[in-house]
């Protein structure tokens, strides 16, 4: 026998999914929302996305190659996902240099300083977004009004998001029913025809991505359902108590980054709990915090902060929320 045989312990066969294929699935799931935002925001969406993705890849490469002097793993797709998500969290008229700063923060500070893929406690794209929100509040909150390729890039006509409009109106003593006439209808919002970050507006496209990821088993239903369910439940209670002061649950689900956050940001593998039980608690925590920030806080939008706050609890949850082991609690019927 001339053959040299390979020896290794069992198992000898492996599932097809790899880190890269999972990341690719996320990218595919993000593409309907990307197409929708190009449809609504035109060139701006393309420029922001390309800048964000390319600079995330470049910074990951530079850091791995010249700072860590280790292997370069930009082909695993994780930096592309971070770049896409960062872009999705920005207005489509964002100046290029600000996007590049956001990428440095996302990849350099939020991801690589902690040891790269798998070790970052906070969602890198969200860290980037929140950093920009605090550093460049004007640019981060002037939202182009969607009008396709007529939107333009640096010269886009801007307006408030429905969420900010309602928050501002309520502060001035207007009633919800009046304010609802000033914002797009629920159906328009569902398809994404409103101002906002470029990737967060089209709920329909994001849900399409969710369905794809669920079918491909890239993620499980636990986190999205927990986030959306708890936001719906909490806002429904507030709405039922005082429909004049509180917007209806559907409005809350369709505006701001709720869909993007629940489907793509909170479900990030690295920064979410490992067990189903933990995922549910994590999701409900995000939902409740989001509503608290939106309704009682200073910001009109709350899900980015809510996710980052819950990210901080993930190690604790992984440590203390354990599955009941097989044969641990024996109740034999």
């Amino acid at each position: 026998m001339s053959n040299v045989l390979n020896i290794s312990p069992a198992p000898h066969i492996f599932a097809k999914d790899t880190t890269r294929s999972l990341m690719l699935d996320v990218i595919i799931a993000l593409s309907p929302a990307l197409i929708a935002s190009i449809y609504y925001f035109g060139y701006g969406a393309i420029i922001v996305t390309l800048t964000s993705v390319v600079s995330c890849l470049v910074f990951e490469y530079l850091i791995q190659r010249f700072v860590l002097k280790g292997p370069v793993t930009i082909t695993d797709g994780s930096a592309v996902v971070t770049g896409l998500l960062l872009a999705f969290n920005l207005p489509s008229n964002m100046p290029v240099f600000i996007i590049i700063i956001g990428s440095i923060v996302s990849i350099g500070i939020a991801k690589m300083t902690f040891g790269g893929l798998g070790n970052n406690p906070f969602n890198p794209a969200l860290v980037g977004r929140v950093f920009l929100l605090i550093s460049f509040p004007v640019q981060m909150t002037s939202w182009p009004v969607p009008s396709g390729f007529n939107t333009g890039y640096s010269d886009a006509v801007t307006g408030a998001t429905p969420l900010a409009l309602v928050k501002e109106g309520l502060k001035n003593g207007e009633s919800v029913s009046d304010l609802m006439h000033q914002v797009p209808s629920h159906m328009q919002m569902f398809y994404g025809h409103m101002g906002g970050s470029m990737g967060e507006v089209a709920a329909a496209a994001l849900i399409l991505g969710l369905i794809y990821m669920l079918i491909r088993k890239t993620i499980t239903w636990h986190i999205p359902v927990a986030v959306l369910g708890s936001i719906a439940a909490f806002t429904a209670i507030l709405w039922l108590i005082n429909p004049d002061k509180n917007a209806d649950p559907m409005f809350h689900l369709l505006t701001g980054g709720v869909m993007l956050g629940a489907i793509f940001m909170a479900t990030d593998y690295v920064t979410s709990p490992m067990s189903y039980k933990g995922m549910i608690i994590f999701g409900v925590g995000i939902g409740v915090l989001t509503v608290i920030i939106r309704v009682f806080g200073a910001y009109p939008e709350g899900i980015s902060f809510a996710i980052l706050i819950m990210n901080a609890f993930v190690p604790l949850m992984n440590k203390y929320i354990k599955p009941v082991r097989f044969g641990e609690e024996v109740s034999n019927g």
């Binding site: 599932a15 893929l117 798998g118 067990s275 354990k322 599955p323 082991r325």
Partner: protein, 448 residues
């Protein structure tokens, strides 16, 4: 609803290439090498010496203790030497090597193929016959059957479960046995029920074998004590704990045995061996082995004499393909890769899987992306990523409290990991360290 165990599990591709392949009797080998340790427990002690003439079915080694098993010659011939020979574990084992001169059977063995249904022997006699005939579990662990069929004092057994799951990809030996030797297996089950003094038996078969489910179902129609249960395909359903959970929703306690929940589990192939031992007085000298692999010319199910070299069987199945990268003794999920095909088939050999070069390599390891897939596939609800991390950091005591020793080494975690992390490799290491720590603890307690 069709049953399965409730949590964890994976679906590796079936690849049952030989599911339709009738059991074939290959030509007798020119020599056999029969290891003295083919079972769980302590080695048997040789009762023959060099130059002895032996008949097929003649005792050549006696059980070395309670948990041990007799070994019989699988051919007739001359003992040429008793020497250390590399077996499938890769270690050298004391083995009896017999040069085959023919196939002359011991005359106490009933070689008439007619089925004998009537059970004459008493429970005690059945146990003795299993002991004499060297019967061990043929599912893989090779635990001596006479020990398993004896309910320990203080325990109660109310159910016999027959494991016809065969959840390992590629392997079809149990499948073919159940299909071709169904009546013998049913009689074997009745014999074991008599020995255990139970009035109920369940046969669990995954529903990727509808022919078998139908066949055994038909045979059991008149026998109300035995029922056949189709199970939803999910690996590792052939594990005792998973099978019991799937069939009757009892959970074997952590660190316990099936008997703790009143159950004994026996493999379908074992039922056939018990039948032959009890009804035909035939010791365990042959078994069905699936020789398979995508690159193999003619993958087949062979009825193989114990001690036949794997290389002889591969030759019979069309020869070792040029691009072979790995030869696995057992299935691809739990089997062992061997360094050479020149190892003997033993009682526990259920199949040989040949992988091509490109199938045989592990993928490069990436960082853990904390996807949690290893947790969700673990049928014992352990956290493989954590057990691996604890082992790497030598946190043996924490590994113990996280129940690393519950791991049944089914390999689902390593199979599913998208970053190709060697989870089970580390868990095995961690398990052995925990067991070592426990031994030391007992020693210290005994000293004090």
């Amino acid at each position: 609803m069709i049953k399965t165990f409730p949590y964890g599990g994976t679906h590796p591709p079936d690849n049952k290439l030989t599911a339709d392949g009738k059991i074939v009797y290959p030509p007798l080998p020119s020599s056999v090498s029969i290891p003295l340790l083919q079972h769980a427990g302590i080695p048997a002690i040789s009762v023959v010496t060099k130059g002895d003439k032996v008949l097929t079915g003649q005792l050549i080694a006696k059980a070395g203790g309670f948990i041990s098993a007799n070994i019989h010659s699988s051919v007739s011939g001359v003992v040429t030497k008793i020497d250390k020979v590399t077996d499938s574990s890769g270690y050298k084992q004391e083995s009896i090597i017999i040069e085959v001169t023919g196939d002359e059977w011991k005359d106490t063995i009933d070689r008439d193929p007619a089925i004998r249904r009537e059970i004459i022997l008493s429970g005690e006699e059945i146990l003795n016959r299993c002991l004499e005939s060297g019967i061990v579990g043929l599912g893989g662990a090779a635990f001596p059957t006479h020990v398993k069929l004896k309910v320990p004092a203080g325990k109660k057994c109310d159910l016999l479960i027959i494991n016809g799951v065969e959840c390992e990809p590629y392997l079809t030996s149990d499948h073919r046995m159940m299909l071709e030797k169904g009546e013998e297996i049913i009689t074997g089950i009745l014999i074991m029920m008599k020995a255990l003094n139970v009035s109920r038996a369940m046969i669990g078969i995954e529903n990727n074998k509808p022919d078998t489910i139908e066949h055994l179902g038909k045979l059991c129609k008149e026998i109300s004590e035995i029922t056949v249960h189709p199970l939803k395909v999910k690996y590792p359903q052939g594990g005792e704990k998973q099978l019991i959970k799937a069939l009757i929703n009892r959970e074997v306690p952590s660190g316990g045995l099936p008997i703790d929940v009143g159950v004994v589990v026996q493999n379908a192939g074992t039922a056939f061996a018990v039948y032959e031992a009890v009804q035909k007085n035939k010791p365990l000298i042959e078994r069905v082995v699936t020789i398979t692999g995508k690159s193999l010319a003619s993958p087949s199910n062979y009825m193989v004499r114990i001690g036949t070299l794997v290389s002889d069987l591969i030759k019979a199945a069309g020869g070792l393909p040029e691009n072979t990268g790995k030869i696995i003794n057992g299935g691809p999920m739990m089997g062992k890769a061997v360094t050479t095909a020149d190892v003997p088939v033993v009682k526990a050999t259920s199949g040989i899987v040949i992988l091509k070069k490109e199938e045989s390599l592990r993928r490069p390891v990436g960082p853990c992306i904390r996807c949690g897939k290893c947790n969700t596939v673990c049928a014992l609800k352990l956290e493989p990523y954590l057990l691996m991390a604890l082992t790497r950091k030598d946190l043996t005591e924490r590994a113990e409290t996280e129940r690393i020793t519950d791991c049944c080494e089914c390999g689902s975690c390593s199979y599913i990991c998208p970053a190709a992390r060697p989870l089970l490799d580390y868990i095995r290491l961690g398990k052995s360290q925990v067991l070592q720590m426990k031994r030391e603890r007992t020693l210290e307690k005994n000293k004090a």
